[in-house]
């Protein structure tokens, strides 16, 4: 018998009991829908983490000064001034494969023409752009002369360009940072939001020497050349863990720490933070996968149950079909196609529900959603397999009926 004829019989049988067919499908609809939503949310979470890694730059270490104890009071991390610009210079010189950039950070009111804006001021070195994998969109970076001479030049982020210049070309314009005029020499590329959700493009970078002496510095900081953090990148082909241990050893040596003393700085491997986030989103996806598989299993059992009822109800029909010449495989095919039709229609409805649900979650909960055609195809294929698996037993039961018994069945 041809598949088309079998499909015709199956659709007619399912149409006979519309409510029953719909309820039977529901299990598969929910199961497949859950799979689609799960994959969309899981892929969205993974894409977000990947974006964060990309935005941060890869193979990164972040060094901050350690906690300070003052009169028995433990002050927060980064409160001491144990880290200096010279540490960064030493790292660049002593550790092969490490690129270090010192950062002094602060906020300031800035003015350009008659626009003003409060933004983050970063005093740093040209290495910072390398470390953060942050290209310039226009203009140039700091020259060695500007670095050593506290040049009054700056690089501006996209948000600052928008707020101060209304998106017009800011190069060679003057921005007054705390009343000190700085000339814009470059525009930073778009970086987007950080892992913590802050706007990374709301930034002005100046040479660290200029930041210290003209904008952010206090007398103490100027004396100690202290910095708030040092970003270190392991260059391609260099092991991050190796760089990390060399870095720790170098800083301990430079800070003259005895072996029994703890670090007076705080070293964070950012990859670890993001991997933890990725792992937690993977656990969530796994949990959803478990729920979805249970739902699909229950849906499959529902199909098997209804198919068994259907075979019993239609025993006389099966007997008649056998009497007029249906072979074992015709009957087997008829009921198998019916079960697969149920599960496939359920699967397609589930895809519709899942896509709609994922979009609703994206719209209302604001989660990032990634719908992949592969996941949809996989879910439909899974529904098909469920139909074959759970439809086979009832179909075989029908096909094995004795025609004499079946015709006599009341």
């Amino acid at each position: 018998m041809k598949l088309g004829a079998l499909l015709h019989i199956a659709l007619r049988a399912l149409a006979t009991n519309k409510l029953r067919s719909a309820l039977t499908m529901l299990g598969i609809v929910i199961g497949v829908g859950a799979v689609i939503v799960m994959v969309a949310v899981g892929a969205g979470a993974r894409a977000r983490v990947e974006d964060q890694i990309r935005a941060l730059g890869s193979n990164l270490l972040h060094v901050m000064p350690g906690a300070r104890t003052q009169s028995g009071l433990r002050l927060p991390q980064g409160s001491s001034q144990t880290l200096s610009e010279d540490d960064a210079i030493a790292i660049n010189r002593e550790i092969p494969g490490a690129i270090a950039a010192p950062v002094m950070r602060g906020t300031a009111q800035v003015v350009a023409g008659n626009a003003n804006w409060a933004t983050h001021i970063y005093g740093t070195s040209p290495e910072y752009l390398l470390v953060r994998e942050w290209p310039l969109a226009a203009g140039r970076g700091f020259t060695p002369a500007e670095m050593s001479g506290a040049g009054k030049v700056c690089l501006v982020g996209a948000t600052v360009v928008r707020e101060l210049f209304g998106g017009a070309d800011p190069i060679d314009q003057v921005i007054r940072i705390k009343r000190v005029p700085f000339t814009v020499i470059g525009v930073l590329g778009d970086k987007g939001h950080s892992a913590m959700g802050s706007d990374q493009d709301d930034i002005i970078m100046v040479p660290i020497s200029a930041a210290r002496s003209r904008v952010l510095g206090t007398a103490t900081q100027a004396r100690q050349r202290a910095v708030q953090s040092i970003w270190v990148k392991a260059a391609d082909g260099h092991d991050l863990a190796g760089v990390e241990s060399q870095l720790r050893a170098l800083l301990r040596q430079r800070h003259r720490l005895p072996p029994e003393a703890g670090d007076d700085f705080w070293l964070r491997n950012l990859q670890d933070v993001l991997s933890a986030q990725e792992a937690s989103s993977r656990v969530l996806a796994l949990l959803l996968a478990a729920v979805a598989s249970v739902s699909l299993l229950v849906g499959g059992i529902g199909i098997m149950n209804i198919m068994l009822v259907s075979v019993t109800e239609r025993t006389r029909e099966i007997g008649l079909r056998m009497a007029v010449g249906a072979r074992t495989r015709d009957i087997l095919g008829q009921f198998l196609v019916e079960a697969v039709t149920l599960s496939l229609i359920g699967g397609l409805l589930g895809v519709a529900l899942g896509v709609a649900g994922a979009m609703a979650i994206g719209a209302f909960a604001g989660w990032r959603i990634v719908l992949s055609p592969q996941a949809v195809a996989l879910a439909v294929a899974f529904a098909f397999v469920i139909g074959v698996f759970f439809g086979f037993y009832p179909a075989r039961k029908a096909a094995r009926l004795d025609p004499v018994e079946a015709l006599r069945f009341e």
């Binding site: 006389r316 008649l320 009497a323 007029v324 010449g325 072979r327 074992t328 004499v404």
Partner: protein, 220 residues
């Protein structure tokens, strides 16, 4: 001979006891015969009909239909034999509900692998033959009992079988409709169709030219 049976026997096993439903029946039926099979219930006439219709296999003995030994066939070969050579008419019509008369008549051709167009043409010709061409697109529930049985007879004839087996074909019909159905059988027989009809009604048996009376699994 169209039908030849030799010491045809069927034994059912029910727990420890064996029931001899058919205890060695040898009978020949020629082409174009109209045979009635009668006997009390449990006499073995239903078992005999199931064997003749290739629905069941004998425990022992031999059955030849159209020169071919049926008793040696497997399940799918039996299905093919039923499809090609035997037409069935049942007491309760056994039409598929929510399916048109035309599709019901065409059902055996579906399993013979006949194309849809040819199926419909042949089914329509059979409906004309039983006088129901104007009811082709009605569902069984929209037809009277007599009409339903005529649809069932058209279905039995559609694949051009060697014989038609009818099991109490008038059992569910009133007297007048019964006579109509038997007149149709008589007409078919006159046109050369071999008929075997199981019945316990003497009026029906009178239409047949030969009567096989069963008792205790044997022909009297």
């Amino acid at each position: 001979m169209l039908i030849e049976t030799r010491e045809l026997a069927k034994v059912y096993r029910m727990g420890d006891t064996e029931v001899r439903a058919l205890a060695g029946v040898s009978v020949d039926i020629d082409r174009g015969e109209f045979v009635a099979v009668t006997g009390p219930s449990g006499s073995g006439k239903s078992t005999f009909m199931n064997l003749l219709g290739c629905l069941d296999r004998p425990s022992s003995g031999e059955y030849r239909l159209g020169g071919r030994t049926v008793s040696a066939l497997d399940g799918d070969q039996l299905a093919e034999a039923r499809n090609r050579h035997v037409g069935f008419v049942f007491q309760h019509f056994n039409l598929l509900p929510r399916t048109t008369a035309l599709e019901n008549v065409a059902l055996p051709l579906v399993y013979a692998g006949v194309s849809k167009k040819e199926r419909n043409d042949r089914a329509m010709r059979m409906l004309e033959r039983v006088g129901l061409a104007d009811r082709a697109h009605h569902h069984p529930a929209q037809l009277s009992g007599g009409q339903q049985q005529r649809v069932a007879i058209a279905r039995a004839l559609v694949s051009g079988p060697l014989l038609v087996l009818a099991d109490e074909p008038t059992g569910a019909l009133d007297t007048r409709t019964s006579l109509e159905v038997m007149a149709l059988f008589h007409e078919l027989n006159r046109q050369g169709m071999t008929l075997v009809v199981v019945t316990h009604e003497p009026e029906v048996a009178r239409f047949a030219r030969r009567v096989l009376r069963f008792r205790d699994g044997r022909i009297e």
